[in-house]
Amino acid sequence: MNKTTIPRLNRHFRMQWEEAQNCHVLLYPEGMVKLNDSASLILGCVDGSRSVGDIIADLSARFPDVEDIAGDIEEFMAIASARRWIEPV
């Protein structure tokens, strides 16, 4: 996954807010992953139309004080891809 890749959520996963957990979660066959704030923020930008580069630009503009936000986003995309939460369009 590089900056030009356009990721989308693997259609076998569903992301939603869970009131009882007080966090966003990913649901999949017989399982659930709780997402922390930054993971849910990044995954929330994954829409199948924006590239990794677009998402970095968007979040960098919204959070200018966060150091190396680009590195964090790329690292998260690599992990999410390895876990098959996201896939290239």
């Binding site: 939603q16 869970e18 009882a20 649901l27 066959p29 017989e30 659930m32």
Partner: protein, 375 residues
Amino acid sequence: MSAPPTPSPPLWLLAELTYRCPLQCPYCSNPVEMAAAGQELETEDWLRVLRQARQLGAAQLGFSGGEPLVRQDLELLVAEARQLGFYSNLITSGVGLTRERVLALREAGLDHIQVSFQSAEEEVSALLSGSRKAFAHKLAMAEAVKSAGYPMVLNFVLHRHNIDQVEQIIELASALGADYVELANTQYHGWALLNRDELMPSGEQIQHAERVTNAWREAHPEGMRIFFVVPDYYEDRPKPCMNGWGQMFLAVAPDGMALPCHSARSLPLEFPNVRDMDIDTVWHRSEAFNAYRGFDWMQEPCRSCPEKERDFGGCRCQAFALTGDPTQADPVCTKSEQRHLVDAALTAANCHKTGGTAMRYRTLQASRDILASQS
């Protein structure tokens, strides 16, 4: 005695819609006493259970049985589950499924269908399920599930009569395009416990199956995910059953009995019924759901064991089935003074050589006969 800590909400609701099933698998985890269960819940009862459990925080929902497809209101329940925000899983033999129903369930909002197989070949499948036609139909339905866009999870229950075919099983699952495969060794509860001598594989069989599975994983790093579950009799520590009693799992039996585990009906406890008690009260305040929460109920060696927070003393049903006392350590644990019961069961099973002819099949009539012989 200190009060058990306030439990977190149940994440899992298992809705066992019915004990009716067209198959007769001798390793079924349904209770042997299933013929004594009361009348099945009505649609309205299930709708209420879904709403109350979701309100409490349940996110994963399993429709199971028996064969849940025999319930004509399944599509309606699925639609309500979707509307409530559940991730819903249908756990089925595939018998009773049609291409039309696969699509109708998708339309209603079902997220996932797990099809269970007896074997990778027709003969063994027919022997175990009691149905000659089931295998070909399962193959067709697995393809229909895949082409409808569901994630495909195939489940194979392993035992002595099919574990040596694990390579063919994996190849079959891969050819069908499975995303996940569960190679789940039989857990010895319900009918499986009754047939333990006929089903328990040998240690060599398990090692062989694990080797084959690991070799396939290494050769296909990007391939489907395989989960291999060892029969716990061969382990030296018990499994953290249900992640602890009343911690995350809530099962509702066909007659409305609420259980912290689908096998728990066998335990000498008074379980609440969702006809008389709402899910919040069941989960937080019923005596049965609090019976084995926390650690105060434990005896030695669990009580002072540093591993108790990892395995919670193992499985209460197994402790009761093998030792007669549900507060004992799960006798799988080598720290248990009762471990000899598990070793004796393994020895008995490994000496037992009838080739499957003495199996007791899971039928309502067999259940009635067993109940009659108990009374």
